[in-house]
């Protein structure tokens, strides 16, 4: 039911006899340009598909968008200009890379916050455990040395996970 919508749309589109059955394959002068094109169309989203980029989608609108990207590239536009031109028509939805602004700052900053926060927590765990040890375990000296011996004996076997 999912992909069928896209396929049916393109089948309907292609089955009208008056329509040209053309799908453009784009020519590039350099490999670098070809790569740049591939990257651009991989990062732009087809507005009507069930979550596909315009590189992989067969929908007519994706074709139109690819055409636009190619044309603008040939005319010397920068990546930013190309994306902006499409966003001004279709909205920010078509960018797979979310913008970095106050709406999305939490999203982008999250990994760093989580990892740093986590590391701090772990540091806290270590510090607390060290402090607990320094405060003394309340054992007598004899018990303590016995405990050490047992513990160090255990140390040898404890590499096995």
């Amino acid at each position: 039911m999912r992909y069928i919508v896209v396929i049916l749309a393109s089948v309907i589109w292609l089955s009208s006899p008056a329509q040209a059955e053309v799908r453009a394959v784009y020519d590039f002068e350099t490999r670098a340009q070809e790569l740049r094109f591939q990257e651009l169309i991989a990062e732009l989203r087809c507005p009507k598909c069930q979550n596909q980029n315009i590189a992989d989608s067969n929908a007519p609108i994706s074709e139109d968008m690819r055409e636009q990207v190619y044309r603008m590239m040939k005319n010397g536009a920068s990546n930013e200009e190309i994306v902006d031109a499409l966003v001004s028509r279709f909205g920010e939805f078509i960018k797979y890379k979310p913008p970095v602004d106050k709406r999305t700052i939490l999203l982008w900053a999250f990994p760093a916050i989580a990892v740093i926060g986590g590391f701090l927590l772990v540091a806290g765990v270590v510090w607390r455990s060290r402090r607990r040890d320094e405060e003394g375990s309340g054992l007598s000296e004899a018990d303590k040395s016995r405990a050490e011996r047992i513990l160090s004996g255990e140390e040898d076997q404890s590499e096995r996970l």
């Binding site: 069928i4 394959v25 991989a42 979550n51 078509i94 797979y96 986590g118 590499e159």
Partner: protein, 665 residues
């Protein structure tokens, strides 16, 4: 008549599930053995009835019984029998039935293989599992009945299975995936039982571990199969898209990996208990969340089932009750008191805790990224997309950090590792890794920072793992003896880590050194991808059982030598009137060459997609290696201790019961 029996079987299974939820638990809480003894027979009975329902649905498919709505929507008389069989789980209702079948199977397995566990514990575990089963059975009977009939107007033929699903991938991917999702319910049930009875100790961790590891292994295979299937089936050569449904499967995997490692620490040292219990609850909750996301329509995905808000509401309620009840229980009953234990800053415990930090951060990252569009739409009525570029940029550093930590952590000791000793230990592996990375990068012909980071991490993990094997297998009786002395648990861990390294290597290499071309070709033309030359020889019409196709012929050359012939197709499925492109792939251990036919251009020319994919198979082989590692680890003899020894070790208390007891020399 049979479909009605199927429905009846489901209802009976539900009744048994209700009894299973209540009776053994009541017996455990009141100390009545007689009630607890019902657990195993109830589990068996439930499995039998669910199995019967599943068999009846399968029978309906195989006999083309189009009076059953689900069969009419997902099958067709022209469909080959093996696809009719797998079409049983090709749609929402049937896949849920598969879910429940697997759940019943796991419940029966827990009931059968836990004779050595205390009855009170097992009764509670089975009751919790019974409650989960009740929820899902209610869902299927009330909202998603696979046995609904289309009487009296039985359609002459079915609507056919979606051509994308007419593939071997459908036969194995969902079952493996569900084995994983459902399997985490066992760790969940153990956690809930421990919270209920207050017995949260290293023994609990040891019992949970094998179940968790098996579920994790299946999920690993399931996800890898999904990626592999998308790669060759969807025709674009992609293997991971960070699509919401894909992410939904990755979430419990990441959390499950953290859980596996956390359980190791809790079993070994009796610490981090609250954290481990929380992880067990979270992992299964993520499984449930995934089930909800895929079927409710709140997120857009090519992989989603047809969405139905009514079902979505029911499922959300089910999800909500399960997760909220467990988290309330957790909030009130999880131990807060610290175990008096000391660990140094470079101890194995801390390394594993840091591993958890990274994995849980990754889990939250994927969850937040996936749900962000939903949240933003709700709060600000704005539609944004969060896709591949975002996840690649944010997830990769976490993966690399985890890999780097892994390499160092392999050498860490429990309780305390000396910093200087560790640093000296790591010098040689570091040097070797740098050299090896440089060599590989020169071999593939290019330096980019990401490629270096990914490759170095993969090689670092590999070198560190082998270095550790070398250390541990040092023995007076010779290296072979030293190797034999290592437990299966150890080898499982080795394979698990090597598998991760393989996946990282594959992902890094194919992303950085792969070549994709879209070219216009007429028969006779040739095109290059890297060192490979593809020659278009012919294209003609062919027919299959339920389709007609444009059948292309290509010759593949490497350095002038013909390597293989490739035959991609464009298929037209007659019933559904849909078009599918079937790529052909020259597969190899170290590279794939991928060819797909696009649209026709003009009279004679076709848009051909040609891709060179170095090391791509390592992605899935690495996952397979990981899963084998998991299965190997649980076959360790410490999990096969006989009842007598178990009784002895239990009375010695939490600290010692974590140690493997040698049963036989």
């Amino acid at each position: 008549m049979y479909p009605e029996l199927g429905q009846l079987a489901l209802i009976l299974a539900l009744l048994l599930a209700v009894l299973l939820s209540v009776v053994p638990l009541a017996g455990a809480l009141t100390g009545r053995d007689s009630l607890q003894a019902f657990a195993r027979p109830l589990a068996s009975g439930m499995f039998v009835f669910v199995g019967l329902a599943f068999a009846i649905l399968t029978h309906a498919f195989l006999t083309d019984d189009f009076s059953v709505a689900y069969v009419a929507n997902n099958s067709n008389s022209l469909l080959p029998w093996y696809f009719k069989f797998s079409a049983v789980w090709g749609g929402h209702e049937g896949s849920l039935l598969l879910w429940i079948l697997m759940l019943s199977g796991w419940i029966l397995a827990v009931a059968t293989f836990s004779r050595k566990l205390p009855t009170v514990m097992i009764s509670q575990v089975l009751s919790v599992l019974g409650m989960v089963a009740v929820g899902f059975m209610l869902f299927i009977i009330v909202t998603s009945n696979p046995f609904d009939r289309l009487l009296p107007n039985i359609p002459a033929d079915g609507r056919d299975l979606n051509p994308l699903l007419q593939d071997i991938g459908l036969i194995i991917h969902p079952p493996m995936l569900y084995m994983g999702y459902v399997g985490f319910s066992v760790a969940f049930a153990f956690a809930i039982a421990a919270l209920i009875n207050g017995r949260l100790d290293a023994a609990w961790a040891r019992w949970s571990r094998p179940w968790t590891t098996v579920a994790w292994s299946f999920l690993t295979i399931g996800i890898a199969l999904g990626s592999w299937w998308a790669y060759y089936e969807l025709g674009w050569g992609g293997w991971w898209f960070w699509d919401p449904v894909e992410n939904a499967s990755l979430l419990p995997w990441l959390s499950g990996t953290a859980l596996m490692h956390s359980l190791a620490v809790t079993e070994k040292r009796g610490v981090f208990k609250s954290w481990t219990v929380l992880l067990a609850i979270i992992t299964f909750s993520l499984s449930l969340l995934g089930t909800f996301l895929v079927r409710s329509g709140v997120l857009t995905s090519v992989h989603a089932f047809a969405s139905d808000p009514e079902r979505g509401k029911f499922l959300l309620m089910l999800l909500g009750i399960t997760i909220l009840a467990s988290l309330v229980l957790y909030a009130f009953r999880a131990p807060v008191v610290h175990v008096r234990s000391r660990y140094g800053s470079l101890s194995r415990e801390i390394f594993l805790l840091l591993n958890n930090v990274l994995l849980v951060s990754a889990t939250m990252l994927v969850a937040i990224g996936t749900l962000y569009p939903l949240v933003l739409d709700y709060l600000q009525e704005e539609k944004l997309s969060v896709g591949e570029p975002f996840f690649n940029m944010t997830f990769s550093p976490l993966a690399i950090a985890a890999g780097l930590l892994l390499g160092a952590g392999i050498f860490s000791r429990w309780k305390k590792t000396d910093g200087g000793w560790l640093a000296r230990k790591l010098l040689w592996p570091l040097a070797i890794s740098v050299l090896a990375t440089a060599a590989v990068m020169i071999g593939y012909g290019g330096f980019t920072p990401w490629a270096f980071a990914g490759l170095f991490t993969a090689i670092w993990v590999t070198v560190a793992t082998f270095w550790d094997i070398r250390d541990k297998s040092a023995s007076r009786k010779g290296r072979l003896q030293g190797l034999k002395r290592q437990s299966r648990s150890y080898w499982g861990m080795v394979l698990g880590h090597l598998g991760v390294a393989m996946v990282m290597a594959g992902a890094t290499v194919v992303s950085n050194y792969g070549i994709e071309r879209d070219v216009r070709m007429v028969p006779g033309d040739s095109a290059m991808a890297g060192d490979y030359r593809l020659v278009f020889t012919d294209i003609g019409q062919r027919s299959g059982p339920n389709y007609t196709s444009q059948y292309g012929s290509f010759d593949l050359f490497l350095d002038g030598e013909k390597v293989s012939e490739l035959h991609p197709e464009k298929r037209n499925y007659t019933v559904g009137m849909s078009m599918m492109t079937e790529a052909d792939i020259d597969a190899g251990l170290f590279r794939d060459v991928f060819v797909a036919i696009g649209e026709r251009i003009g009279d004679n020319a076709w848009a051909i997609r040609l891709q060179y994919k170095p090391l791509i198979r390592w992605l899935w082989l690495g996952a397979l290696v990981m899963a084998i590692g998991g299965f190997l680890a649980i076959s360790d003899k410490r999990y096969r201790i006989r009842v007598r020894k178990e009784a002895v070790s239990e009375t010695q208390g939490p600290q010692t019961s974590g140690k493997p007891v040698e049963v036989t020399p």
